[in-house]
């Protein structure tokens, strides 16, 4: 049972945190990040269940939502005209419902696409790097379908302004191979160059479909360092800073750069790469590609129990406190335009949700909602 003193201390702490958030938000409109949320289960449900999940997502007060577009699911067979979103090989039905539903609920949308279809994969694996032309044509079809000028089912589809090219292409779970073996097994990092080719081609296709779309490149997963030797199967992770540097060497066009940050330690303390305090190192590389380009942190969060995909975890109370700190850390860097909390709800593979697997709210839920309310979106971001 809480004592009055503890209750007063809690109220005081929350008041101070709210003030800190407001002060951070008031530090300049450009410094207030868009508070975004991803529900990775959106793409696994349909019909009324999907509508209910979108209601729940919108009820958090998030201003934007990131949505994975699973290329492998949309295009199970090779389309005859891959740039044409109306090609019969494409099945967009789930995404049409998501885009319409989120837009109707007032959320801005960021679409990322990944998972190589079998027909576009050299090995047949979903994580196999696609041919740049194939991936780019799909990006073009995606941008065209959600350009605001395309109708489906007799009604126009909403416009989606932000498209991320791939997801975590520096990690072997999403892009293979990451490296090749040089002399003596030395690692030759392969993914940055191959990804840069996909990014450049996708940029052209997306802009051709919708010149107003923002093309977000990078999407680098939370890897610290790169391997010095390459395993025979090329399974390794390229450090996110190295990835930015090597992609920048290739010079693909971008409108924004995105990365994923899962710090060990609190957001304001952690300083391993990548973390909030090491963002300036990444920004230096981004500026080589597009000076002043905004940074989107399209995944961040803290897990509240151990799982084999993410072995660092914190308590539910720490997670709640670090929602606040995450937004404060983001607001300190004026280049950060968007922050996406990943994920909305726990599942056995990912326990960083605002909701537990049984649907009950963790303490972080209320803190996220408060943070979303404290950071009004800048002009141009409302859908």
């Amino acid at each position: 049972m809480r004592t009055p003193f503890k209750m007063r201390a809690t109220v005081l702490r929350r008041t101070l945190l709210a003030l800190a958030l407001l002060l951070a938000a008031a530090g300049g409109a450009s410094a207030a990040p868009i508070v975004s949320l991803q529900d990775d289960n959106l793409v696994n449900v349909s019909g009324p269940a999907l509508e209910a999940r979108m209601d729940a997502l919108a009820a958090t007060g998030a201003r934007a939502a990131r949505v994975d577009v699973l290329w492998r699911e949309v295009a199970r067979t090779r389309p005859a005209d891959a740039r044409n979103p109306a090609d019969p090989a494409y099945d967009w039905s789930r995404y049409d419902q998501i885009v319409r539903g989120l837009t109707a609920r007032g959320l801005a949308i960021l679409l990322d696409f990944y998972l190589t279809p079998e027909w576009a994969s050299r090995s047949g694996a979903a994580a196999a790097a696609p041919r740049a032309a194939d991936g780019a044509r799909f990006a073009g079809a995606l941008a065209r379908r959600y350009s605001g000028a395309f109708a489906a089912g007799g009604a126009p589809l909403p416009e989606v302004r932000r498209i991320e090219v791939w997801n975590e292409p520096n990690l072997p779970g999403f892009w293979m191979p990451q490296c090749r073996r040089g002399r003596g097994g030395k690692a030759l990092l392969a993914s940055p160059r191959a990804y840069a080719a996909l990014l450049a081609a996708s940029y052209r296709e997306i802009k051709a479909a919708n010149p107003r779309a923002t093309v977000v490149g990078g999407v680098a997963g939370p890897a610290g360092s790169s391997p010095t030797s390459c395993p025979k199967d090329g399974r390794a992770a390229v450090g996110s800073l190295d990835f930015a540097r090597l992609v920048a060497d290739e010079g693909p066009p971008i409108d924004a750069w995105s990365m994923h940050i899962y710090p060990i330690g609190s957001p304001l303390q952690a300083f391993f790469v990548p973390s909030w305090s090491t963002l300036p190192q990444v920004i230096r590389q981004v500026d080589r590609l597009a000076p002043g380009a905004p940074i989107h942190v399209t995944e961040t969060g803290y897990h509240t129990s151990y799982n084999r995909f993410h072995r660092y975890f914190v308590s539910e109370d720490q997670q709640a406190a670090w929602v606040d700190e995450t937004l404060v850390a983001a607001a300190r860097n004026p280049r950060v335009q968007l922050v996406t909390w990943f994920n909305f709800q726990d599942n056995p593979r990912w326990t960083g949700g605002l909701l537990r697997a049984d649907g009950t709210r963790k303490p972080a839920y209320a803190r996220f909602a408060a943070a979303a309310a404290a950071y009004p979106p800048p002009p141009g971001w409302a859908p």
Binding site: D68, L171, R235, I264, F271, Y306, R308, Q318
Partner: protein, 358 residues
């Protein structure tokens, strides 16, 4: 459901650099480990497995490239490593690897429970007084662990003992009222029977082993050990201890208890094979010993002395005297392993050694 890449978990390079230094490789008599950390050892087939729990002190002054103004902070780790042994288990036959790494900012963990499954596999449950630790089975053919239980809810049941039955992980949790709940977990995710409610227990005072063996001390009556064979239908056997139990270990057919004995400490060996359990005191001393059980052998490290008590023989006999204090010990029949304290270039190290009983 979204598939996440495994390397995400360990991708933070600096974090990895701060973890335990990788042990050496090649056919060697010893392995050198970083620090004098809390460790538990177990033989799993021709592999030595060890858990190491430590506080990771992240000091920006010691990390190249740390941004200006970075502050020192701590987090906590419990890693499970393993190294293959030669045929006689006298030498390490390959480099160490660390297939399981548990990291948290909640609270310090201990080495907890480490139960071998054979062929290098294990069930690991770090211990902690402030968080419900995960129960982890390692590993499938691809070297990937299965998380049998991991619950971050406040007040979640806490796993205090675990073993491998040959097809499932059998583990004991304490519920909010301190009652034991015996559960089975299938690493393959298959159906498991509902949990069985059982008697009161406490952390460190419950142990389980293959064959349904379960031993515990009721916190309300800590000078009595209860030994049961779950599923047998027989009531638990009660063993009188010389004083309150402090820690219980179990291996198939064998239980060891560390207890108080007046102003001193004692280790009692309980053989719990097919017949009624038989108990005898095999060690007494003033300082906390390291204890391990396996393959019918009870091993004790008391300062620099390494002792062993084998099935059907008298009390614990001295095996060897280590060069320095022994912090952790493991046993499996005639095989022994221990970690003794050492220093290399002024830094604390643990030296992992192997021996065979005659």
């Amino acid at each position: 459901m979204r598939r996440r890449a495994l390397p995400v978990a360990l991708a933070v390079a600096a974090g990895a650099a701060l973890a335990a230094a990788p042990a050496g490789s090649g056919a060697t008599r010893t392995l050198t480990l970083e620090g004098w950390h809390d460790r538990a050892l177990a033989f799993s087939g021709r592999t030595l497995v060890w858990t190491e729990a430590a506080t990771v002190r992240v000091d920006p002054r010691r990390i190249r490239g740390a941004p200006p103004g970075a502050q020192r902070f701590d987090y906590y780790r419990a890693d499970v490593s393993r190294a293959r042994l030669d045929r006689a288990s006298r030498r390490f036959a390959g480099p160490a690897e660390t297939p399981v790494s548990v990291r948290t900012s909640i609270a310090r963990m201990g080495s907890g429970t480490l139960a071998p499954t054979g062929d290098g596999g294990f069930v690991a449950v770090p211990s902690s007084s402030r968080l419900p630790p995960p129960t982890i089975w390692c590993c499938d053919d691809e070297g990937i662990e299965a998380v049998i239980d991991s619950d971050g809810r406040p007040g979640a049941p806490r796993t205090v003992a675990a073993t491998w039955t040959g097809s499932a992980v059998r583990f004991v949790q304490l519920d909010a009222a301190g009652g034991q709940v015996v559960r089975l977990g299938d690493p393959g995710g298959g159906a498991v029977p509902p949990p069985a409610a059982a008697e009161p227990g406490a952390p460190d005072l419950v142990a389980v082993a293959g064959g349904g063996l379960r031993a515990w001390a009721d916190p309300a009556q800590p000078a009595r050990l209860l030994v049961a064979r779950d599923g047998s239908g027989s009531p638990p056997a009660a063993i009188a201890l010389p004083g309150p139990a402090l820690r219980v270990w179990a291996a198939p057919g064998l239980v060891a208890v560390l207890s108080r004995a007046g102003a001193r400490l004692a280790v009692t060996r309980i053989d719990a094979g097919a017949g009624p359990p038989s108990a005898r005191r095999v060690w007494s001393g003033a300082a906390l010993p390291a204890v391990a059980v396996g393959g019918g052998t009870l091993a004790i490290a008391d300062g620099r002395r390494v002792l062993a008590s084998r099935l059907g023989r008298a009390g614990a006999r001295r095996v060897t005297t280590a060069r320095r204090r022994v912090d952790a010990i493991g046993a499996d029949g005639a095989r022994l392993a221990w970690v003794e304290r050492g220093r290399r270039k002024g830094l604390r190290v643990g030296v992992l050694r192997l021996a065979r009983l005659g």
